[in-house]
């Protein structure tokens, strides 16, 4: 078991990701943030909290997307669906998808399909806390990366949060 990010590092990384998003999308003009259910929400909540310190909160459009019904492995295993809540139109908007770990890219593939059903966005970007590079099964890359790591397929990355595990940490097993 190896620590990838400690509590303090996560705090700094979230701050950096929020600033990088703002750098590219000044005042989040015409830009919306979408957290991926269930575990991407913990990261997107933190990023949104950070952004509220930087710009007026009424500039922030933030939604949650569940991709269960778009998965490519439905015939192998049914997963429990979580709530989707996108209370605004995403048509013509820049979307920043936020998830905790980018691994095979299949979740993001499903998310792209799902988002199109909410209207045609202008542009879609991806923000992740952990990028398991060299493990991709689809041609998908992130625009904002907390930490890129090299892993074997047999290894597992656990992103734990105060909300679900009583403390913030990222570990590799």
């Amino acid at each position: 078991m190896k620590s990838i990010l400690t509590k303090n590092q996560i705090k700094l990384t979230v701050k950096r990701l929020a600033h990088q998003i703002l750098e590219n999308h000044l005042n989040l003009e015409n830009t919306v943030l979408i957290g991926i259910q269930p575990r991407g929400i913990f990261l997107s909540d933190r990023i949104v909290d950070e952004l509220k310190n930087l710009i007026p909160s009424d500039k922030i459009l933030y939604g949650r997307l569940d991709i269960t019904f778009y998965r490519d492995d439905i015939r192998e295993e049914l997963k429990l669906a979580n709530a989707t809540k996108i209370p605004f139109s995403t048509a013509g908007k820049n979307i920043v998808i936020i998830d905790d770990v980018l691994w095979t890219g299949r979740t993001i593939r499903s998310a792209l399909d799902a988002l199109i059903d909410f209207g045609r966005p202008q542009k879609v970007e991806l923000c992740v806390l952990i990028d398991r590079r060299f493990s991709r099964e689809l041609p998908i890359q992130a625009d904002y990366v907390g930490r890129a790591i090299d892993t074997f397929p047999s290894q597992k990355v656990y992103v734990r949060w105060q909300e679900n595990h009583g403390g913030d940490e990222v570990i590799l097993e």
């Binding site: 295993e77 709530a83 209207g119």
Partner: protein, 310 residues
């Protein structure tokens, strides 16, 4: 994460956890139905046949919409215009359809137990869309979903089921479901339309006084008088039924609380339910129909075939 049964033949076979899983999945599908594109690709590799041996508008359209909004391929069968009219047996018809690589069967039949019979002979998943006077499970699920959506709970909810209980598969499925979920039930209607064993078998209250039931309940589920299933007179006339057991505005005004009015449709207006109640502010009848699509999407999604290695 799946249901404990591979078919949905009746609420009788479901556990409390199954029911909760269906209702929570339905609420996610309800959100899908608010999107600009009201469709998900989940069942794009699945073919479903709707076998309707008995007439239906709402249920058939609701199932068909649910199937299409899951991206399934859909076949429709109506007994009157098919080879069933030439005397082909149910099992022959279904086996012929299944040999064309159909994965799931949605069936309504006037014979009690028809889908249970079919389940013993075919591998495809079966969803009962109403069998005789036995069960109509997806109606009970959408009723429960609508009650929960409107009142916020099922546990401890007081539900009156009023009308033709004897011939109603909706009543039986509702009783099974509400009992499993911890709701309280009162059955009301004329003595000739309420089966005698009901009270002991299900631990429900029975009254022949509709006003008493309305005064007691939070939700009144008013059922249709099923004249097509009554082969002997069980009450004197429709007008007298309306006077004694029909739900009217004046009756609702005479009780000292607001209750939710439900009806599975089709309504006999002016018999079991007056128009000013059916179209009034306490009625959630059209919400029930709307929720029906989401609930059926949940059932079909959760019963959809899984590959053998899982």
């Amino acid at each position: 994460m799946k249901l404990s049964s591979k078919n949905l033949l009746g609420i009788k076979d479901l556990s409390r956890e199954d029911i909760q899983l269906i209702l929570s999945t339905a609420s996610q599908f309800k959100e899908v139905l608010q999107r600009p594109v009201k469709k998900v690709p989940s069942l794009r590799d699945v073919t479903i046949v709707n076998l309707f041996y008995e007439n239906s508008t709402r249920t058939r359209f609701s199932f068909e919409l649910a199937e299409r909004r899951l991206s399934a391929d859909v076949l429709n069968f109506a007994a009157g215009t098919s080879s069933a009219a030439k005397g082909e047996t149910l099992l022959d018809t279904v086996n012929n359809i299944l040999s064309m690589k159909v994965d799931m069967v949605v069936m309504r039949h006037s014979a009690t137990g028809a889908p249970h019979f079919l389940a013993q002979h075919i591998p495809a998943a079966i969803v009962n869309a109403g069998d005789g006077i036995n069960e109509h499970p997806t109606q009970a699920l959408l009723d429960a979903y609508s009650m929960q959506e409107k009142t916020g709970r099922l546990e401890g909810l007081k539900v009156a089921i009023i009308g033709d209980i004897m011939h109603s598969r909706v009543a039986l499925s509702n009783i099974y479901l509400l009992t499993k979920m911890g709701a309280e039930i009162t059955i009301a209607g004329p003595p000739t339309l309420i089966p005698k064993y009901l009270q002991e078998a299900f631990n429900v209250n029975v009254t022949y006084n509709v006003k008493e039931a309305l005064q007691w309940c939070d939700v009144a589920n008013v059922l249709r008088i099923q004249l097509e299933r009554q082969n002997q007179p069980l009450f004197s006339s429709l007008r007298e039924y309306n006077l004694a057991y029909g739900i009217k505005r004046s009756l609702l005004d005479s009780i000292d609380k607001d209750i939710v009015i439900m009806h599975p449709g089709p309504i006999n207006r002016g018999v079991e339910l007056d128009s000013d109640v059916a179209d009034g502010p306490y009625s959630i009848i059209l919400n029930q129909v709307e929720n029906g699509v989401a609930v059926r999407m949940a059932v079909l999604y959760l019963l959809s075939p899984q590959s053998a290695n899982s």
